[in-house]
Amino acid sequence: MTENLDNIKKQFYEELNSVNSYAELERVRVAYLGKKGLVTEQLKNLRYLTPEEKKTAGMMVNSLKDEIEQAIISYQGTLKEKEYRKEIEGAERYDFTIPTNRELGTLHPITIVQRRIEEIFMTMGFIIEDGLEIQTEYNNFEAVNTPKDHPARDMQDTYYLENGQLLKTHTSAAQNTIMRKYGAPKKGEHLKVLFPGRCFRNENVDASHENTFFQLEGMMIGDDISIANLIYFMKVLLTEVFERDVKIRLRPGFFPFVEPGFELDINCAICGGKGCPTCKNSGWLELLPCGMIHPNVLRMGGIDPEKYTGFAFGLGLTRLAMMKYNIKDIRLFNSGNLKQLKQFTR
């Protein structure tokens, strides 16, 4: 009996190993496990044995039956694998250097830079505000401490409209509206606002002058805002914007809406501060004006300058985009020239 089973087993494995298809496999299965299969026959033969013999022989035959069943199942997996291998080996080889031709759309370079900066500010808890492009003289000038006879108000710089309004000359035109909208912050809180916008200067256009350009202005107001905070904040911000560890320095600068006012310089990235033609050998690049918000501006915005202080800063968004993409001619931005604009995929 044992010998017989061993022979069956040996024969089964020989046959199994030569199987190449599901049909052959099925034939083998039937030959061993089918109604008239060899193993089935052995099971049937058990009935001729004594109860004792039956017990041990039964165990042996059943164990062979299980083994063969398992072997067939696992051989099915092998066959499947073989089939896949065949399909894959026979597959067409794609030329993945063939170009696709659907062109990716583009955002305007200003949008890309603006969005990036807005995201930085939002992570620092700033509200993003959006002012009007057409402003009153009051908002554009008086409310930011630029009285009637100030040279900045001379006709040649500002586009005046026939209804007495004007095209805003700087984003500061939104300061008053924003202060009035939000009011003084609650104790321990700060009013933090970023307001980008399109500005206009009545001048002739050339490679480095545009009558229509973007600025971005931010301010932070609270009962404890100081020059020390301003310096800290500008450094953190500019490190994010330029994605490098910038050095900054502040110089006195005069702008009617801040006191003290500063010109902020950053260390020149081209020469690393050693001095080069780009930074006129000074190692520094003039980047942005900033300062402590002038008490008159706070007062006109309905915020008590005896209790509150704040800082404000302006960034030339158009200039920043020119720096980022190394754009030499400012006219690109409003040209509508798709040969140029289609390049700004990110």
Partner: protein, 793 residues
Amino acid sequence: MLISMNWISEFTDLNGVDIKELINRFTLSTAEVEDVYEMGKNIKDVVVGKIIEISDHPNSKKLHLVKVDIGTEVVEAVCGAPNIFVGALVPFAKLGGRVGDLEIKEASIAGVVSRGMCCSEKELGISDDHSGVMILEEDYPLGTDIKEFMQLDDIVFEVDNKSLTNRPDLWGHYGIAREIAVLIKRPLKPLERVDSSVYKHLPPIDLKVEDMDKTYRFSCITMENISKNRSPVNMRIRLTYCGMRPINLLADLTNYLMLEMGQPMHAYDNRKVKDIRVRTFSEPFEFLTLDGTYRKIDTNTLMICDTKEPIGIAGIMGGELSSIADDTNSVLLESANFDATSIRKSSVRLGLRTDASARYEKTLDPEMTVPAIERFMKLLMDVDPGVRVTSCLTDSYVKRYKDIVVDFDKAYVDKYTGIDISSDMIEETLTALGFKVNRKGDSFSVGVPSWRATKDVTIKADIVEEITRIYGYDNFNAYSTRSLLTPVRQSAERENEYKIKTMLSYKFDMNEVHSYIWYESKLNKELGIRTEPNVRIINSVTAENDTIRSTMIPSLLGIVYKNVDSYPEIGIYEIGRVVDGLNEDGMCNERKRLGIVLASKRLTEKEVFFKLKEVIEHMTLSIKNVTARFTENSKYKKYNYVHPVNSAEIYLKDREIGYLSVLNPIIRDNIDKKLNVVFAEIDLYDMEKIKPENLEYKEVSKYPGVTVDLSLLVDKDVRYETLRGYIDIYPCKYLSKYYLIDIFEDENLLPGKKSVTIRFEFVSMERTLESNEVQSMVDGLLAELKSRNIELR
């Protein structure tokens, strides 16, 4: 403005000061230094020589041969100057020396060897005089290096004028010296002056300030017996180094004083002036200024006159007829202070900006007029001791600035700065800057000096700036704020704007563009685009583009036009501003609009139209979860580029937010006959007014649904929306959705009709539907449609 360090060192001791470090400090604390020039470096080995013999050059009529005694030897040289004479002392450049770019070497000039050079003032950089060699007026030992008596070696730095806009006190060397003295912590020397009160017994000048509005102060004096005509060489060097042209002694002195004290002055030939009136005229007239130009003087321009006629434009430029001539021996000296705005406006109107007017524009200190006269007298008398004063100092002080006293305490400074600057340091800094400091412990009461009190320093914050800029911003310990953690709510508007841009660019492959807020009238004309009148710019430098746009589309069509030759497929958009007329209060009704233009030579016009419709539908769905509706256009037909038939108004819920239109072929043909152009404009402010619909999730049936495609024969002019109305009316419990598969039109097969194939999906939440159930619903629907004259094809 150019600043000479030699000049500065007259007022504060610069010995041992690192000039480079000083300039850096000055930039950080006062004003930006843009450039530094080392003067005199290119003048080397130029000595006093005496011409002892002159003979003719054998080969030239213009050139001469000269023998020059330079103390140690006699040198032979060739000289072309017409003004040489035997016995003249001249600056002589020796062999091995240097004059400007010229290295002095033995050279053959027209065949004769020359071993040195007699120098002109221009060659030495003293003035622009190149008419002959410089003749030295004083007696110096032969062979003396000229640098021993000429201050040719100097460091001159250029301060950015813009950064001095708000510092009227810094428009002269003395003011700059005051800043530098504070920065290097050394004392500032007083200006040496003549005491004018000595002359108070003399008769006054007949002076009347008639325009009391535009004049703050007018001071003057007369002097005679002026014998010298030429300024001392070192004065001329300083003037030249600081960018002024030496002219004659009196003119040079006025310029010198202006550069030194920042006070513009004018010297009139006293023979031509009887008295002084400061006034305006009621009629415009022409006036000849000393640069030889006739200028139109209007009724707002302040003039200096005598009773007969005007003699100068106040604060801007003197007149030709009363100006200093070579034979002038008596002078009327003006030192005045005028209203800054009036001078600025006159200067703009005249198109004449001078060094004087540029200073007056800054609001100068009227306290300066008298000291300036006294300083002038001192310098003049040093040069020309025989000068006699013929009038008392005549002074009309019409308007005064108020004394300013600012009270504050250290706590205010601490709060503003965020750092701890000691009261001692506050006191020391302000005192050094000329403030009158009254201090009790940490409380201050500070008098602002007159030279800072005209507009510059008025409030506490200004005082903080004085303290901090001298303290140095680079010395600040910077630190973060302490804020409560509070959520920041961003407006949906901006987020939506970015969503739209991202979608249009990255889903629909469009390019974002920017265009101007005004119509480009030339381009519009070329394309035949008629725009409606709108609010206009009154002073544009490009006058043809003066109308603010009321719609985005013409700008975008212009961009399509500019690009059509390069790109057969164009998809562009812009979110920009327009003005939709004026509001009731007269203010512009500014709107934020999205304009989109799709143009294609590949797709049919109809395809482009529906592509853009899809864009709009996706946009409103993803932003508002509201399906856009498109209805008959009536409002926008006024634009001649809108298609009279194929244009629709866009609605979200009950609000009209814009329109979608095929480009009118009249305009299309001006762009490109083969280009199919469709555009849309959406008012984003209006769109923002639509509340987004909440999204409600609906349970999905576990049972399979049944789909039925029905091709319906409909009259050609029936819109799909109408058909939908019919379907929606029929109560059909298990109809979960239906949608358009195809519209088929064929005039031969289906005259007057079209076949609309719609797929209907039926499903139940409770069970699998029986086919006869579905059939009966379809039959019911068809019966309903039949009553509307719609049959199954």
